[in-house]
Amino acid sequence: MANLALANLTKRKTRTLVSILAVAIEITLILVLIGLTKGTLNDVAARIQSIGADILFLPPGSSSILSLNNYFMHSNLKESIITTEGVKAVSPVITWFTNKLGGMGGNIIFGIDPKEFNNVGGKLELLRGTSLQGEYDMLVDRRLAEANNLHLNDQVELLNRQFTIVGILKVGVGARIYILLTTLQNALNEPNRVSLFFVKCQSAELVGEVASRLEKSFPGYKTQLSEAYAEDLAESAQGINQFISAITVIAILVSFLVILLAMYTTIIERTREIGILKALGATKAYIVKAIVTEAVALSIIGILCGYLLSFAAQTWISNTYPLITIIITPTWIILAGILGLVSGFLGSLYPSYRAARLDPVEALNYE
C-alpha cells in the first residue's frame, strides 16, 4: 500500500509539486509570522528587562507596549517617588517614536539623564565613543548603526535638529536610540514631560512592596514589574495574536483545500485503479487508508520543505532587515508540523470516502 501511494506521487509530478508547495507555504507562513511576533515581543521585553530597573512607573491609561504610549506625566513626581520607602533610585525617561532609521514600523527613542539611568541599573555599554554629554549628542546601538550604515560622528536629523552620533552601544539594553532627556523635552516643547520612571529598589525582596506602596500613593498610576514584563507584554499584544491566528487559519484552510482538490482529482483520475483494488477484495478501510497515506506522505514532504523554506526566510529577513528578529522555536516547529499533517489528513478524508464508495464494476469500466 505504501508502495502504491509513493508510486502515485512520482507519477503525477505537477500535482505532487503543487500540493507540496501548498503545505510548505502553510508551514512557512505559520512559522515566520509567529516567529516574527515572538521575536519582536521577546526583543522588546529583553531590552526593557536588561536595563536592570525593578519597576516601570507609568502614567494612568498607559500600556505595557511603550511605543504605543501617548500618555505623559510631570517630572516633579520624581521627588515623591524617590522618597517612597524602599526606593533606591529613580530615572525619568521620555520616549518618542520615530519612523526613521528602519526597524519594523520605526524606532523608539529614549530621552534620559545618563547618570540617573545608570543609577537604576541601566548600564549602557559603549562599544565605541563616549556617553551623552552635549545637547545634540546621540547614542545608537550596533544593529541600528549597521543597518543604516552609521558611524561615529555621523550626523542624523531628528525633530528638525542635527544630532551627532557620539557612541555606539552594545545591542539589547532599552531603546536603540538615546538622547538627553532635556533635549527631547525641549524639542517637544514640553520641558516637564516624562513618559515613565524606571525605579530601582533597595533590594530585590522589596520590589513587590514598593510597587504596592507606589500604587497606593499615586492612585491611577501604573506600576509594571520588570520581572513580569515579558508576560504582560504578550498579554497586551492580544490584537497581534488574533491577527496571527487568523492568518494561521487561512494558511491551514488553503493547504487543506489544495490537498482536497489534489486528492479529489487523483481519485477521479485513478477510478479504474480503485476498481482494481475492489476486484482484489480491498475493503473500504483499505482504500481510505491508501488515499490518506498518499496525502499524508505529500504533507510530510511539504512540511519538511516548509521547514527549509522557513529557515531560508528567517535568514533572508534577518539579513535584509537587521533590526527584525524571528524566533523559530522547537515547540512551534512541532505544532506547525502537526497542523500541516492535520490539514493534509482532513483534506484527503472526503476524496477517500468517495473513492471507497465507488461501485466496483463501474470503477473498473471507467474510461
Binding site: 502504491l4 508510486a7 482494481i276 475492489k278 476486484a279 482484489l280 477484495g281 480491498a282 473500504k284 466496483p360
Partner: protein, 225 residues
C-alpha cells in the same frame, strides 16, 4: 457433486432511462471443484455481467449466488469484499495491473489485501515462475509485452490461492500466439494444480480449451438448456 459455485434464477436488470436491459436472466448454473468451464456467447449477451455476479463484484437484481454454500447476494459489502479477496481471482481483458508498480509489487498488493498486510515473497517468486516470468519480477507493466502482462495478471489472481479463477476475455487483447500461451497456461493450472477456472470468451475457438462449455445468448444460458 461438489459444487463450489451455484446460481439460482439469476437476474440482472440495468435501467437506462426508461428502458430495462435484462443483461442476465434466469441463469441457473453450477461450477464443480477442479472444473475448467467456458462461457461463450456473442458480445453483449451478458457474459461479463454474469461473471461480476458470480465473483461478488455486483449484486443481482433477483436470484442468488452461492459460493461454498454461502449466499453472497444478500451479504454486506464488507463480507462480499472478503469473499472476493479470499475466494476469487479475477483476470480481465485489459489486464488491470497497476502501471506504476512492478510485477512483484502488483502481486504484493493482492497479498496485502488478502493477508492483512503480510507478504510472502517466496510465494510471489514461485507463482511468477509458474507463469514463466520469474525473471520479470521487477519489470513494470509497460516494460512487458501484452502477453507477459496478462500472465502477471494471472499470477496476481493465483497469489492468494483462490477457490475460483474468473477470467473475462483474457485473450481479447492478445495476438494469436500470446492467446494460445495464456489459454494453455490456464489449462496447465487447471490440470496440474486442480485450479477451478471459469473462462469467458466470445471466441468459439478459445472456448474449446475448457472441459465444459456453457453457451449464452441475450442474457440467458441456451446450452446446456
Amino acid at each position: 457433486m461438489n459444487k463450489i459455485l451455484r446460481t439460482e434464477n439469476l437476474e440482472k436488470v440495468y435501467r437506462v432511462g426508461k428502458i430495462d436491459i435484462h443483461a442476465v436472466q434466469g441463469v441457473n448454473l453450477g461450477i464443480e471443484k477442479g472444473e475448467f468451464v467456458s462461457i461463450v456467447g456473442p458480445s453483449g449477451c451478458g457474459k461479463s455481467t454474469l461473471l461480476h455476479l458470480m465473483g461478488g463484484m455486483a449484486k443481482p437484481t433477483t436470484g442468488r449466488v452461492f459460493i461454498e454454500g454461502i449466499d453472497i447476494s444478500t451479504i454486506s459489502d464488507v463480507k462480499r469484499a472478503k469473499i472476493r479477496r479470499e475466494k476469487i481471482g479475477f483476470v480481465f481483458q485489459r489486464f488491470n495491473l497497476f502501471s506504476a508498480l512492478s510485477s512483484q509489487q502488483n502481486l504484493e498488493i493482492a497479498m496485502q489485501i488478502c493477508r492483512n498486510g503480510n507478504v510472502d515473497h517466496q510465494r510471489i517468486k514461485e507463482i511468477m515462475a509458474l507463469v514463466g516470468l520469474e525473471n520479470k519480477l521487477h519489470h513494470k507493466p509497460l516494460e512487458l509485452s501484452m502477453g507477459e502482462q496478462q500472465r502477471v495478471a494471472i499470477a496476481r489472481a493465483l497469489v492468494n490461492d483462490p477457490l475460483l479463477i474468473l477470467a473475462d476475455e483474457p485473450t481479447g487483447n492478445l495476438d494469436s500466439e500470446n492467446s494460445y500461451r495464456v489459454l494453455y497456461l490456464l489449462k496447465d493450472l487447471n490440470r496440474n494444480l486442480g485450479q477451478t477456472i471459469v473462462l469467458i470468451t466470445h471466441n468459439q475457438e478459445a472456448s474449446k480449451i475448457a472441459d465444459r462449455k456453457i453457451k449464452m445468448k441475450d442474457g440467458m444460458v441456451i446450452s446446456p438448456s
